[in-house]
Amino acid sequence: MTRPRADPPAGTAHAIEARGIVKRYGDLLANDHVDLTVARGDIHALLGENGAGKTTLMRVLYGLAVADAGTVAVDGRRVEIRSPRDAIAAGIGMVTQHFSLVGPMSVAENVVLGHTDGFRVDHAAARRRVTEVSERFGVPADPAAIVADLSVGQRQRVEILKALSRDCRVLVLDEPTAVLVPQEVDALFATLDRLRSGGMSVVFISHKLREVMALTDRVTVLRGGRVAGTVATAATDEDALAEMMVGRAALRPARPAGGRAGAPVLIVRGLSAAGRHGLPALREVSFELRAGEIVAVAGVSGNGQTELGEVLSGMRRATAGSARAGDTELADTPPDVVMRAGVGRIPEDRDASVVGEFSVAYNLVLEQLNDFRRGTVLDERRIRARAQELIERFSIKAGPDDRVATLSGGNVQKVLLARVLARDPQVLVVAQPTRGLDVGATQYVRSQLVAQRDRGAGVLLISEDLDEILALADRILVLYEGRVAGEVDGAAADRQRLGLMMAGRAAA
């Protein structure tokens, strides 16, 4: 399986030198003469908003897309990369955002996939190879494990092993932390650091400034398909990078101070629920949400947050306990009753909350069609007028007749926000509201949540993004193994302490 490979030429040649990369999709110029130079043994960040062209550039480097113009040199040698096979042969390995793993197969099978010599697959040799690479680079993995049974962090390690076992000298990771919980992020960073010490070059794609600052040696910022600049990480800071990224200053306003919280609008008592596999996922959770405050629910994924959001949204049955908004019980209540009680919900699964094939206008009134009909017929004119108004008010970048399926994640979320907030809910339950959104959309969504709080609504924010929680929450509840492990005041919270509580250490 190992192929002999000439040593890289000595001297000052860069690990990767891409020059003038142009990639066009229809009318969209995704990469407009992009240059990228990665030094050997560096972790090089590629930073930019969604749609800035990061992923396109990486797809070009890995042969998943063929550039319309430009050249790529690896270790000083020009290479033609027209398919992943060419990229692998040139020594480039890639871990994509959506893992390229075959779930029902073993780790070893996934690693040798596409690189088997001869007709018969030697499974024993494949397992030995995985163990050997895993030990040499310090990336733990069980070669016989079935990938579908592994956690996301473990799967990512399998992806890294795949690249390493093909003797890559440049490892490209496309937003590797987007799917990881904080502990897994730390493990990943330790792994990448070890690889760097061994002389590996790493391209790290991200839109999280903190991670870029913590991990990388150099940063190339993309904006609108062009290079906005390349700087040494040590010579810059988050604000400077953010400005390069979005082209405007000050995108992290100081934490908006909350006013005085009012009367309880949501009272949760002893709420329990079963999880996906029928096991208890939520155990006797009790808390109160008051008017005019944002309460965040933090926790490592799989500790009951998803189930809490689903029970409060009426998508999952409670096995015990209650959740009352005013006189209305939320658990096991039909959605229209919940909605009339002044509860607005923005669930975790955005795409399941809109009908992709329907227009923006229909999606905006989907929850209140009864208010938009004349007799039995939908009142198209009023639906349109409503859509125009909400599109304007929530700066949705789409027309009323556009199908929602064609919208970006940020605009889908704005459609959902508009639909829910237009009804001025007294209680707002939002789950992972900014997951996968770019910086601009994230800021917008967060500012809307703050505006709701300031208007006097109680906001329950279920999020796995600690930065988001720290930026918004007045109070923070930490869920661990389905129980409330502790409560922290938002202004006094820090990552360290929350991280420990999320990991199940005793509450401070």
Binding site: Y62, F99, L101, P104, M105, N110, L113, T116, R120
Partner: protein, 300 residues
């Protein structure tokens, strides 16, 4: 005792075309393509295998012709579902309609004038050790001793099998790993098509020695159900084929037993199909379809 031995022999014989069809369909579906062309492919294998054997006087020529027809049918299914990316249900049913029609039309052209049903000297039975239960056609031995175990081995233990499973589960991952997704699906569908056609030819070249209209009688569809019953595993699929064949053989024999003539024979005839439906209902819940089932693959 004679009753039981006959039943075992008939079960193995009846299961033979189902084994070819089920293994063939498993290859197609593990690669991510539901091949509803199976009924037509078996039908065309039966007719063209017979016609070639009749014209040449050689059963080998007949069998090879069936294989060629199956390869072509698989390639056509691949062209429609992989290259063109049409809906697999439509492509498969279209191929079945086409091949049944072409076979029946050709039958009329070639044998239409014949007053009596044309017959060929079909394969002889092998009777090792003089055991009646093992008195079977060579194609039956090949099905159980070669096609099923080899079919499993190739899928589980070879790079071709690994590639087929990968393109059927996650073609994006396979593509990223440097596997030619389209080529792998073509291969799987053509291998599958050839096996289906041999399954069809079993009727004309071995069991009957003649071709009659409607000869496949829905056995292709039975194979589709057996693949799901077997959860895309060849071993379980073959077990399902044996179960169906056993019930089929049993109901044929029940009809002539004293006391059973009160039961309408149509009901008995339906028995194997009811068993398949019952088995599917019991085992078909919560099955894990191949990840890329029914999905054409296009690079983003």
């Amino acid at each position: 005792m004679t009753f039981l031995i006959d039943l075992v022999a008939a079960t193995l014989r009846n299961a033979t075309p189902l084994v070819y069809g089920t293994v063939g369909e498993t290859y197609a579906e593990r690669a991510g393509v539901l091949n509803l062309g199976i009924e037509g492919t078996m039908y065309a294998g039966a007719f063209f295998g017979f016609a070639a054997a009749h014209a040449s006087g050689s059963l080998t020529v007949g069998l090879l012709t069936a294989v060629a027809v199956g390869l072509a049918a698989g390639a056509l299914m691949a062209f429609l579902s992989v290259t063109v990316g049409t809906n697999q249900h439509v492509a498969g049913i279209g191929i079945t309609l086409l091949l049944v029609g072409v076979s029946e039309f050709s039958n009329r052209l070639v044998f239409g004038g014949a007053g009596t049903l044309p017959k060929i000297e079909s394969y002889a039975l092998l009777s090792p050790f003089g055991l009646r239960a093992l008195s079977q056609y060579a194609l039956t031995y090949v099905a159980f001793l070669a096609v099923a175990p080899l079919g499993w081995w190739v899928l589980a233990r070879t790079s071709l099998g690994l590639n087929i499973r990968a393109v059927g589960e996650n073609p994006e991952a396979a593509d990223a790993a440097g596997i030619d997704v389209a080529r792998t699906r073509y291969l799987a569908l053509m291998i599958g098509g050839a096996l289906m056609a041999i399954g069809g030819a079993f009727f004309t070249l071995a069991a009957l020695g003649s071709f009659t209209l409607g000869i496949i009688a829905g056995r292709g569809w039975v194979c589709i159900a057996l693949v799901i019953f077997g959860r895309w595993r060849i071993g379980r699929g073959v077990l399902g084929a044996l179960l169906f064949a056993a019930v089929y053989a049993l109901q044929l024999r029940l009809r002539i037993l004293p006391g059973w003539d009160a039961v309408p024979f149509e009901l008995l005839l339906a028995l194997p199909y009811l068993v398949v439906i019952a088995a599917l209902a019991l085992s078909g819940r919560n099955v894990d379809y191949p990840g890329a089932y029914l999905k054409p693959y296009r690079r983003a």
